[in-house]
Symmetry: C2
Subunit: 116 residues, 2 copies
């Protein structure tokens, strides 16, 4: 086995541990997909808006100053990735955050920003 750096033993053990505990490609892809969905500013704004409670599409659009069509596309993406859920209420569909994990992550990210 070729020596890679000055700290071969220490690093080699970590590489081994990393490989063994590395989630499957599928799991990683799914985790990444969640982060990616949250990462887009337009969707992040929607989530921040929804953190106060459920809203209908037009009200979401008002809250984020976006167009109906764009917001609807974004809502679909968020829903497909199980970040939010929707329920019909008469003519409207009311959306809300589906999981506290999402809000936790967003709050940790906010905190991260403030720590600098």
């Amino acid at each position: 086995m070729k020596e890679v750096c000055e700290r071969e033993d220490e690093h080699e053990a970590r590489v081994k541990a990393a490989i063994e505990s590395m989630p499957s490609e599928d799991k990683i892809a799914e985790m990444g997909a969640r982060f990616k969905v949250i990462s887009e500013p337009s969707r992040l704004k929607i989530l921040l808006a929804l953190s106060g409670g459920e809203l209908c599409v037009e009200h979401i659009a008002k809250a984020v100053s976006g167009q109906q069509s764009a917001v609807s596309h974004q809502l679909k993406t968020l829903k497909d990735n199980k970040i939010i859920k929707g329920r019909r209420d008469g003519k409207n569909v009311l959306y809300s955050v589906s999981d506290w994990h999402v809000l936790t992550m967003i709050n940790v990210a906010k905190e991260h920003l403030n720590c600098e």
Copy 2:
């Protein structure tokens, strides 16, 4: 003011609150950038590998089964976004996660996945 849906008062109050507490465009862009950087599977793998401690570039490449050049590009992106930091150690550069917030987010995401 035009009525938007059946729950006008409730929603209107939330829209107002959302707009008032909405972070600046810059802050949102920065938060989004962080999530985006973490979202790419190749970079997520690197972070998972680094969660066990610092590693040099070639060992990172081994841990994630990636090529040196690609890994180096990814490391630069992670570093530019303050997700990781590097320190020189002789011929090598050792990288490590720069902030517990990052690991917290990743762990919350893992948990989120397992809850389904």
